[in-house]
Symmetry: C2
Subunit: 236 residues, 2 copies
DNA sequence: GTCGTGCGTACCGCTGAATGGAACGGCGGG
DNA sequence: CCCGCCGTTCCATTCAGCGGTACGCACGAC
């Protein structure tokens, strides 16, 4: 894991020497461990070094926390994409962050910082706020305690403002985000709730701030989220 | 890895004792290793045992072999889905099998055996045949040597027939599959080629055999594949 | 041409960490 | 009620991982 996590999110390949340097291992140790990792196809040898291997992807695809959700949500995300023609996201909460499970992009859409399997802070994303509004109070406190870091000029950094906004989200069932994580981009999100009314995930659409009218799509996002919630609660 | 690979594709959670039994480890060994895996969030403790953890999903999402392809293909897959309203697949070759990278499902579509991160034999799937037709000859020989296992009544199991079909695919640029892996399901696939004309991946649409007219959608699938090929070759 | 540097690879003696047997408390079913 | 299975902890033995060292190679500077 020390070796595997030495790969930063957007690095394709690293040399043995670079890995040894980053991890503080002796070159011979890194060499031997990489041989073992290669034999499991957890990493692959390339002309210029090593990169993460396909078995990691295969294992990751089996992870229950994301698999059930993804399979249940897939058709609804497709519908939502078709109805709105905007970038669609599915995410789950994890500590003070959100982890993106799925992303449907259209050609020519805005370039958003999210990535399948990537993380963003909860307080400055649509999906994050949607889930915070329907989370145990401790989670909000943890987010506030971690500090509302400013990621863009319009990021909400005042705890009071955030609390107030979450109350509005609870009332309307939809979360809005206007250039709070990236300038020029806006977002409409809705939570996916379990039987107890707690958010287990959220869906959102994201688009250019001057092109996407939140009021027009709010009900579509909400409908998709409700559809997933219903399927998750089972055939009861 | 012995512990992680003890989880079969559709098992959600396993007990410590069951893991020890499957792997042949002593219970105490399995216990200690699971503690370590848990600390990395590679597995998570549940009331009834352990399950694969989110970090595996996050790591898997970084794997270059799938990430670049997925990001390049995403908009084209979305277009294809919208144009056809059928289940869309993106897959890459791996030995005598194919690994699915992405899947877009519509509501009410047929239930297909594929799964993101899952594998199927190359010889009985549309994407598999599309890629075999544009693969180094060794790969086809390897597939034949491994044996064309029958998965459905109409699976092609005769080497000669398969060779002939691949020639046709090369000519038309599109592969067809009619109930060769699952009864009632048909498939239209096209390869994504690199600069040397070798298949690096394939896209397909899948639907009910009596509902999906291959002739009508062949060009759409081919167009999507060509679009991805073009993007992959870069902005040259 | 020649040196210097950084790379991947291989060897091997030492040591500390992994192993698994044994034992215990808790729980549920027969 | 007791038996069996589970998860957990402890501990002595041993063996496998560690990393210092060294080698061949490719490349660039001088």
């Amino acid at each position: 894991m020390t070796l595997l996590t030495a790969f930063r999110p957007d690095e394709v390949e690293l040399s043995l020497a670079e890995l040894a340097r980053r991890t503080g291992m002796a070159k011979s140790t890194a060499h031997r461990l990489l041989r073992e990792l290669t034999s499991w196809d957890l990493v692959e040898r390339t002309p210029g070094g090593v990169r993460l291997g396909m078995r990691l992807f295969e294992l990751g695809s089996q992870v229950p926390r994301q698999r059930g959700l993804r399979e249940a949500a897939a058709p609804f995300l497709a519908d939502l994409f078709e109805a709105t023609h905007e970038t669609v996201h599915l995410a789950i909460p994890d500590g003070v962050e959100v982890v993106y499970l799925q992303k449907l992009e259209r050609r020519g859409g805005p370039k958003v910082p999210s990535r399948v399997g990537g993380r963003l802070p909860a307080h400055c994303t649509g999906v994050g706020k949607a889930m915070l509004a329907f989370a145990p109070p401790e989670r909000l406190e943890a987010v506030l305690a971690a500090g509302l870091r400013r990621r863009a000029p319009r990021t909400v950094v005042a705890p009071g403002l955030l609390r107030q906004e979450l109350a509005e989200i609870r009332e309307r069932g939809v979360a809005l985000e206007h250039e709070e994580s990236t300038v020029g981009i806006t977002c409409v999100a809705a939570p996916i709730l379990d039987a107890e009314g707690m958010a287990v995930a959220a869906v959102s659409i994201t688009g250019w701030v001057n092109r996407l009218d939140p009021a027009r799509f709010a009900s579509a996002v909400r409908t998709a989220a409700l559809g997933v919630s219903r399927v998750l609660r089972g055939p009861s």
